[in-house]
């Protein structure tokens, strides 16, 4: 049987470098996800506004995020801001800005969808029980919204974690890039290293994303 090339991971500090790369990816995505959830909830509430101007602004924002590939956004924020404004952003800061810009828009739209999916009768029943608008929102609408949001936002969060692989385009060495470096450095001595290295990276992404998805299941049950 041919070697799957997992042995290359144990040469020198290769495995440690892979873990460092994983930490870079996880750090960027965790910070971005945390900010996106907070801003996304605010944006989502604003998106349900009846004010045409507010609606139009957020509509344009959402469409820009949908139209622009994340790669283009990364180039615009990292290189574009230097060209136009002379700002010299750290690559990681640029990455977080792009991920938050993207995450907030999509999270906002999910929140908007979840909010308007709550039947009108819930608001009316709350009012009939003598609750103020604020109380109704806090005790009736919000809990139901959050429950509906969980599966949707987990999709977004895991997608954000996986999309961090794009940040190599602005010079950030994250887990996938380290993997490619290891494979290429061993191209001659271990031509099959790609299988082993990518299998291990797959496992790493799985170990990060799986707990997130378990947490979602648990939360869904707990709040059901």
């Amino acid at each position: 049987m041919q070697s799957l090339g997992i042995d290359v991971l144990f040469k020198g500090t290769n495995f440690l470098r892979l873990l460092e790369g994983l930490w870079v990816a996880v750090r960027i995505s965790l910070i971005s996800v945390a900010i996106s959830i907070v801003l996304g909830i605010l944006v989502g509430i604003l998106m349900t506004s009846r004010n045409m101007a507010v609606k139009a602004i957020f509509r344009v924002y959402l469409e820009i995020v949908r139209i622009m590939p994340q790669m283009v956004l990364l180039f615009i924020v990292y290189f574009g801001t230097t060209r136009v404004f002379g700002w010299d952003l750290e690559a990681e800061t640029a990455a977080i800005i792009v991920f938050v810009f993207w995450g907030t828009a999509e999270m906002g739209d999910l929140v908007r969808g979840a909010l308007i999916s709550i039947p009108k009768i819930q608001y009316e029943s709350a009012a009939a029980l003598g609750m103020s608008r604020g109380m109704a929102f806090r005790y009736v609408i919000l809990p139901q919204t959050i429950r509906r949001l969980i599966p949707l936002s987990i999709n977004l969060i895991t997608r954000m974690i996986k999309t961090t692989s794009l940040v190599m385009m602005i010079g950030i060495v994250e887990v996938l890039k380290v993997g490619q470096q290891i494979i290429e450095a061993n191209r001659k001595v271990s031509p099959n290293a790609a299988f082993g290295v990518f299998a291990v990276i797959f496992l790493m992404y799985f170990l990060i994303c799986w707990p997130v998805s378990r947490l979602a299941v648990w939360l869904e049950k707990k709040w059901a």
Partner: protein, 286 residues
């Protein structure tokens, strides 16, 4: 809804265009001069981190390769520390134009289009096309290729473009990926395989029974360091340095330290440019 989408699209396009179309706006501060680099004590050099044997990272996390060997020397002679930036083929020009790196040393082939965007220093390596064939039926010139013979190429490579343009009579067998072309060639589907000469040379050394009959075909391109357009102090310093290094046969030492294992001793003079003077600088009349 439709209207909103149009608005969004227009906004996105305008924003993108505005950001992309003003390279001159900050041209004054886009790069650091030689003195500024020396003063800061660190030089930012963009290299490949996954293109062995030119620029890659070894198992200890250190940058290595033919390009990096030169980078190390430049840093040493400048008396500054080196901050390596991992670049991709697609963002090398962008890095220079924004001044986020001072020098690109990433197997950067000199072309006219690129020379309009960045300034190339003197070259330090040759690249050309090469043709590899089985040793029992060596193709030493394109004339050896029979009327019914097929030559294997990878779609989208310079080899394909060159042969289609200059030798349209040669029948090509095109493959999308390196691995497919390799398998097809090993199975004898074509009489020869045309690709970058570094690729075919490496193939002939890794695989028994194949010879590079034509090691250098077509326009001889070169690999050179590049700096931000207009950064004359740094450009002149690199040029002087490359000429000076030629006197100690630096690039031959570089080849022997980094490329010998992959390309063997036979191709040292084909690939290396010493002192910035491309020996076989046959200029194609195109």
């Amino acid at each position: 809804m439709r209207k909103n989408q149009i608005v969004a699209a227009v906004t996105a396009i305008t924003l993108g265009a505005a950001l992309a179309s003003s390279p001159a706006a900050f041209a004054d501060e886009a790069f650091r001069t030689l003195d500024e680099i020396k003063e800061s004590g660190t030089i930012n050099i963009g290299v490949f981190s996954d293109k062995s044997p030119f620029g890659y990272v070894d198992e200890n996390g250190d940058y290595q390769g033919y390009d990096v060997y030169l980078a190390e020397r430049l840093g040493e002679d400048l008396g500054v520390d080196i901050n390596y930036v991992s670049t991709e083929a697609a963002n090398r020009i962008e890095y220079l134009q924004t001044g986020k790196v001072d020098i690109i040393l990433a197997n950067f082939t000199v072309t006219e289009e690129r020379a309009e965007e960045v300034d190339f220093a003197l070259p330090y390596m040759n690249v050309a096309l090469g043709v590899v064939s089985p040793e029992d039926a060596v193709i030493e010139s394109l004339d050896d290729i029979g009327e019914d013979d097929q030559v294997i190429v990878i779609s989208g490579t310079t080899a394909e473009t060159y042969l289609v343009k200059n030798n349209p009579e040669i029948k090509l067998q095109k493959y999308d990926a390196y691995a497919e072309a390799k398998t097809a060639f090993e199975n004898g589907n074509g009489v020869a395989w045309a690709n970058d000469n570094t690729e075919v040379i490496a193939f002939s050394i890794e695989n028994e029974g194949y010879v590079v009959g034509i090691p250098s075909l077509g326009s001889a391109d070169t690999i050179a360091p590049a700096v931000t357009k207009g950064n004359e102090t740094l450009l002149n310093w690199i040029n002087d340095e490359i000429v000076a290094l030629g006197e100690e046969n630096f690039f031959h030492a570089d080849y022997e330290a980094t490329l010998l294992d992959t390309y063997g001793a036979d191709y040292e003079d084909t690939l290396v440019i010493e002192g910035g003077v491309a020996a076989g600088a046959e200029t194609e009349a195109e």
